[in-house]
Subunit: 208 residues, 2 copies
């Protein structure tokens, strides 16, 4: 442990400045990829980290289908907006991040004490189930990209695709619905666009 790490751990378990750079300040959306594969072990490592992030009543509704093979990439290509095709075909892996409307079936494992009541409530109110699935999958999508970056990968998240087409092609026979896509790999460092602005604290926050 470095002196800085030891100091931070003593004070309040905060992580190092270099790590904050990696997961937030220096991380950039990538659109150009090195010809360097991403191993299945690394994809599993992303999931193994991000799955610990909190969700409502621990429902963890996010599902991740990693499109890696040429065959699977060819199925995805026509479902992408034109502007996302080249970068996605060049990326070593593309995660289809979906939310499972049937998350209630996992509750006996994930939330045994709440399972029975929650399942009964969700069966009566599919709109509430959909809202819950989307909200927690959003959080898990955030954890997912942070975890990938924490492991040294670059991310290229995308919303420009045909969601109904992706659901039909990749999630047939399930109740999983596609939410966003995320290319994964090792980006070409000098290829990123100039960084877009963000809102200042006073524009996005208030202390009451």
């Amino acid at each position: 442990m470095s002196t800085q790490e030891a100091y931070l751990a003593q004070v309040d378990h905060a992580i190092s400045d270099a790590a904050l750079d990696t997961i937030f300040r220096n991380a950039r959306t990538m659109r150009h990829w090195q010809d360097k594969p991403v191993s299945p072990t690394l994809l599993m490592a992303i999931y193994d980290l991000m799955r610990w992030g909190p969700t409502e009543t621990n429902i963890t509704p996010a599902r991740f289908h990693f499109v890696v093979s040429k065959e699977a990439k060819a199925r995805l290509e026509p479902l992408l907006d034109e502007s996302n095709r080249r970068q996605t075909m060049a990326a070593p892996a593309t995660a289809i991040v979906g939310y499972d409307l049937d998350f209630a079936s996992t509750l006996p494992k994930l939330a045994p004490r709440a399972a029975e009541n929650l399942r009964a409530m969700l069966a009566k109110d599919p709109e509430k189930a959909r809202y819950m699935a989307m909200r927690s999958t959003g959080l898990q999508g955030g954890y997912f990209m942070v975890a990938a970056r924490a492991l040294g990968l670059d991310c290229g998240p995308m919303s420009g695709f045909d969601p109904e087409g992706v659901d039909k092609e990749f999630f047939a026979g399930t109740q999983i619905k596609s939410y966003f896509l995320c290319n994964l790999g090792f980006g070409v460092p000098d290829s990123v666009r100039p960084r877009a602005a963000r809102l200042g604290f006073d524009e996005a926050c208030k202390i009451l």
Copy 2:
């Protein structure tokens, strides 16, 4: 920089194992809080990190109202589910995380090249605007909790509250809608519940 950090940085810019513990593996939802305040500087530091996380077309629709004062806490208390009242009143700060349906008004700053077309599209399709706002605020909610943990804070996210009541009490005169709440502070370490299960890789993921 420690030997481990130097090795990781050389290989692929990954962050240290201790940092992964802090933001994912050892982080737990807290419901009991130490009597130790959270400074405004620390709240600003959370935002200053999490705002760099990616959102669709950089719309960054999440808004954070930090309920800290006794007066503001008293306004929030009756809007909470009974089971969330004690922990929230004891927490040094509670973030109301909302999504701004009027995010289009920030686009000239955030996405100048896309602003005009996107604003015209969103004005015609408020359901699409709502979907976009919720999806990206979910991601930003994930970044928010990781950033708080990375800075040494504990989080206690909650969905048990009256969203319409919170919107009326805290977001009147705006188009911000409450999405979830998150207590922030320094938790009582031995107070956490046994950790709930998570899905295995094969239950939540596929490699195609």
